[in-house]
Structure formats: structure tokens, C-alpha cells
Amino acid sequence: MSDGFEASEFITGFIAEAEEHLTLANANLLSLDQAAAKGQPTPRQVRELFRSLHTIKGLAAMVGVEPIVDIAHAMETVLREADRAAGQLPAGSLELLLRGTRAIGQRVTALAKRKTVATAPAALIEALNALRQSGSSRPEAAVGTTLPDELWTRLGSAEREQLVQGLTAGRRGVVATFIPAPERANAGVNITSVRERMAAVAEIVKVVPQSIPASDSAPGGLAFALILLTDATDPVIAEASSSDVSALRPIALQAATAAVASGQEGEDGDGEPTDSDDDSNPRQQGVVRVEVARLDDALEKLSALVVTQFRLTRALAALRAAGTDTRALALVVADNGRQLRDLRSSIMRARMVPVAEVLERVPLLLRGLSRATGKQARLELRTGKTELDKAVAERIFPAVVHLIRNAVDHALESPAERRAAGKPEMGLITVVAVERSDNQLELTISDDGRGVDAAAVARRAGVPVPATDDGLLELLTRPGLSTKSEVTTTSGRGVGMDVVKRIAVDELRGALAMTTIRGQGTTFVLRVPLSITIVDAFSFVSGGETFVVPVAMVEEIQELDPSRTVRGPDRRRVVRATPDRRQVARGTDMIERRGEAVPLLRLDEIFGLAGDAVAGRKVIIVRRNGEPFAFAVDRMLGQQEVVVRPLEDRLVRVDGISGTTDLGDGKPTLVLDLVALGGKLSAGPGPGRERARA
């Protein structure tokens, strides 16, 4: 179905929206499960779940993904009926709904990966459909309505049943009020005529006379409440009752045990359950979903602006040098610079997502795991209001999943074992997210399970038992060790710990720590930066070493053409090469580029690396303050997104090197700031560092 589909931007939009609704659906399923376990009614969750699936169905139909339409439709039908039964789901439906949601999720993922979308699983659809038939025999006793007590109590049991059944069948319940008055009677409008007119547009369940305070509009102090089932619209009913639309009150189904008053049942032609709790999802309001790529694009445009700002600054300096009074202009340029920085931080903020949102799938994960393992686990999730960069969130979540999976699979004991150990049968998994002052997020994942068996881990690794938790963690995170099944089952910890470490430590430049107490449980602490700098970068080799340079910094990459290279006259000695290396000569070679003479700098010479005669086949051109520099390098390796970590220790703080990254070989690779390097070289070997850049 997705093959050959032209409107790929619709697909992208669909995937984004569908994922959002799937997330909502999962949250509601979970809440349903919890409420059902406590025997609470679940009308709100059912209604919201219905809405999510209804939306997914509509979207899927728009982009023509039939399998998703089919699954969503079957689920939606079950939910519609449950909604009419005051949110009472037939037994066994939760499992099927979970499966359905998963099935939709899988198909959305397939779509996102441009794979063929599997047809709807027939068994699931059948099971969902079967649910509907069996579901109609639900106990009536649990159901009531939102009819006010003073009216409900006036209904006989047959009338009550009539009302509930009508509502269950999808008809609207309305209470209309007719107030007799002399002028109305003179016009021939009395309760009898109202009854007659009403009978034509609605089923009258009961007419209840009520005494009300006498007033101008109700001189008799009497009113008739007409309890109606209807398919007609409010204006029609209002007209028939000679009253205003605002005087109509809807009747909705409600579980008899629930004391909460439900809100309005609105106008809804296709029988879709309507909002009763508009405040149920406040964060949906005023929210726009944006692809991260668009924010990246905005950042990129911003860097172009920053370059323009540099040029402005330079032009300003030239003016000043020529004797012009530039003070007023300088103020404007300074303002501009500040605004650019503000804009940058705004864009960075737009990339932040609440931690709570990142972890909202955790309860569902835990639920699935407890089901699969037969272990009972309670989750304590404390996330606060911390936000973190989307890119970090996307990377850290799999690590959290690993840790929780391990906790349930291996750390938590079976209920019987726990009982024997004097622990509560239900295990406890705690996930806490706290923002630290150093712009780091601390994620703590603890269990009250059996703790890590250091001896077993050490035996497996063939090393002495580590004396500390750090040493034990080091063993656990060794690649290869973790996959051994024996460790997995006996140590209480294992699978994928190397993955967790790789994500938290290597990719995100964070930290991973563990404390474990035999018989009492294990706590993992993940510390990751709230945001990371991810840069699109070129990697290249010069003098046998690999470097990367941000793409945004590079104006052009070209072949080094010896025929257009001019050797300059001045070959002075370099003073700033690393002292333990040979002092190398640096020439002031130039290349001609579009009529412009560009200084050609050999990176291996500048860095005092072992250059060779054949080196310098590619030229990376950067521009600093409008002035071009060409850096000759050996060869280009590729282009990729890298996480840049700044170099903080003063021992390694050097102009022209903005940080390090890991290209996947486990070794730090230097990220070069060729623009600063060019500036430093043109400033000559004078004292001091490059002036701080704006």
C-alpha cells in the first residue's frame, strides 16, 4: 500500500500525528488497566482512547493505509460500545486493545522506514469483533445516568431501564423543561400540546412535574421536566418544548458507583463520544509538533546570520580605521549580536522536551514486562518538570528501557522467592529524574530485587571478585560478558549493560554508576547532559591523524590543483609547533580561486604532524571575517553528525581545537575550528590568544 505512494510529506505528517495519538492511546490503556484493577469505572479513558483511535483511523484513511484503518476501526467499535456502557470494557478487551495498539504502532514504524505495511492481523480483528457480541451482556446494574437525583428517583425501574438502554444504544438523552404560563395557555401551548409535539421528535421517558420558586416567567411556581430520548437536534427539541436551547440539559451514561457528575453531551452527528473532560490533557493546547530537522534548519540559517554579523563587525572596524565616528553603529551591531545569541538559545529551548514525556511509556513497558515474566512490579515514577534536548531524549530512552527490563527480568525475584525473603510480593521499581545544577540530568533507576551477584559475574568474566561496585559495574559493562545467559539468570543483572554504558557514557558523554546490595536491590544512576551539541561535520585525514570540522564552517572543499598553487617567497620558521617535535617550515603558498589569492596552509605542518610529499590532495576553504583560508589535508573521509564535547582542561585548551568527538573507534577525535585557526595564523605568532569572538 505504501509502495509508490507519492505524497510522502503526508506520510511524514501522518507518522508524526499517529505516533502522538499512539502515545496518548498507550497512556490511556495504562490508566484503564490501573483503574480496572481497582474496580474503578473508566469512562474518561475509554472516551479518550476512542478519540485517539478515531483520529488514527481518519488519518490512515487519508493517506490510504488500509491495515491501520482496519485495526483502528475494530478497536474503535469496541470502545464506542464500551463508552455507551459508561466506560465498562468487556472482559479480556484490554489485552486485545493493547495488541491492537501495538499492531498499529508496528505498521506506523514500517511506514516510517518505507517498508511494506503488513495487512491487519485477521485473528486480532476477529477477536475484537467477538468482544463486541459478548460485551452486550454486561451487567446493567453498574450503570446509571447523569440525570439529577430529584428526577432519577421519580423514575420507575422500567423507565430507568428504558433510559439507560436508549442511551446505550447511542440515542441522546435530554431533559427539557416546560414552564406553563397564562399567556402560553392563551396561545394554546400547555403541557398536553407540548407532549404531543415532543412525541413527534423524541421518545418521552417521563414527564415529571416539579415545583419551582414562583417568578414572572413561572407565575404558577410549576415546571414540567421532560425526560427524553431523541435523535433530533437541540433546536428541534427546544422548539417542541417552547423553551430555549440553553434550557436543555443532556443526560449521559455514567457508572452508578461513580459519584462524579459528567459534563455535557454535545452535538455529534456520527455518534462519536464527546469531550467531557476538556482539561484532561492541558499540554495538548497550544502545542505544535515540529520535526527536529526543521529546528536544525533554523539553527543553520542562524549561523549564516552570525557570519553576516562577523562581516558587519569587520566593516565597522574598517570604517573606524578610516576615521569615521562609528559609535552609534557599534551599538547597533552589539545589539544585533546579543539578539542573535538570544535567538540561538530560543531555538535550543524549542528542542527541549519534558522528561515526563520521554518517560511516559515506562509504565506501559513495566506492565508488559510483568505480564511476560509473571513477576509483579510497582512503578514509582518521579520526573518533575525537567526538560532535556530531544536528541538526548531519543538516545537515553533505550538505556532506560534496558535498565528497567533487566530489573524486571533478572533483579526482581518471583513472588514466591520474595515472600520467602520476607519482602512484599510486589517488587518496586523506582525511576527518578532530577536536574542537577551542572546542566545534567540525573536518572536513577532502582529496584528492590536480589542485587547483583558479584561472585557469579566475576566467575563468568574469569577475574577475581571486584571489591567495589565500580569494579563490578566495569565487569558488567564489558561487551561480550553481558550476553552470556548464565550470568543473566544467576547474577541478577546482565543483558545489554554494555549498551547502556555506550549510550550514557560514550555517546552522551555522561556517566553511569551503580550501587548494589545483595538481597536488597540495585540502583543505577545515569547522568547525562541536558543538551548536547550535535554538529554535522566532515571528517578528514591530515598527517596520518583524523580530524573533523563542522560543515557549517566550510565554504568549499576542492581538489588541490598544483598548477594553480603559487609558492610564496617567505618561508619563515614556525615558532609554535609542539616543542618535542621538529620545527617545521611553513610557507606562504597561495592558490588562485576565482580570481582571488587564497593563502594555502598545510594542516600537517601547522600541527607538526608527520606530513609526506603526497599529502595535501584536498583543500578545505573557510572564511574568517570575509578573508578566505585554504587548508590542505590528505583526504576527506566523509560527513556525519557528531556529538561535540568541549575540551575543558586547560592542559588541552588550544586555539583552533573546539572539542572532541568519538567517531566510533573509542578514541577521541579532535574537532577543529579552522576559522579560529586561520585567524590565529594570520595574527602571527604574537602574544596572547585570539581575541574572544563575538
Binding site: 550514557a504 557514557v505 560514550d506 591523524e545 618535542d580 575540551l647 586547560r650 581545537i657 568519538d662 578514541k667
Partner: protein
Amino acid sequence: MSELHVLCKVNDTEYVLPASDVLQMESFAGATKVPGAAAQVAGLVQIRGRVVPVVDLRVVFGLAPVPPTLDSRVVVMKASERVVGLLVDSAREVLKIPADDFHPPPAVLVQQTDGLVKAVAQVGNRLLMLIDFIKVIGEEHHDGDE
């Protein structure tokens, strides 16, 4: 301060470092060079995901650097917020040295090592020199590349 010390060798001379300041000891197979950094900076290594500058103690002590061997170790140390590795020829032993056993180094030694040796301890017939880690890596406010 703990009495435990990590014993390491540089050019067959034995030095000790307080174990309480040692984060870990790693084998060494080369570092990413940082052009422009001071001569004693052997480069950067990634240890447990953390990028750590490595100072070659041989160079600090005025010796020529040697290619790494199987015995080469990076002793990763921390001082307040900084984490720096010291490259040594080998580091195998951990010794318990009571604080009383340390004595101020002879003036000549202080002079010749630029104060890099904080104290000297005699353990059996061995003479062990306690390295002043902060001196080796330089104070943070002190501006580098000389």
C-alpha cells in the same frame, strides 16, 4: 588521606600517588595528539567515555617519550574538578604507607624536580617519591602552554 598509595615507575625510579586521588588505572596504547598543547601532554584518551588529557611523566621529568608498551599505564587522577591521567612506564603495586613514614624531600631534590616531589618515604630498602599531582598538571588559573 588514605594510607594506600599506588606505586608506579618512570625510568626505573619508583614514585607513589595517593590512592584516594586515583580514579582508575588503564593500560595505554597511545593517545590522540593535541597540537599546540604543552610538550608534556601526551594527548587525549577516552576512558569510560570520559575524554581525559594524559600527561607523560617522562616528559615532565625531562626524559624523552617512549613508545607505549604492554606495561604502560595511565593513572587517572582527580583534583577538585579536574581529571587528568598520568602516563607512567608501569603501575602495578598498591602499598600501605603510614603518613609518618613520609619525610620532606631533600632541598636538592626539590630544586631539581621543580617541587614535583612532595615527600619521600623509605619502605624497606626502597626509596619512594610522592608526586605532587597539582604541580604536575599546573594550577587551573595558571595560563598554559609555556
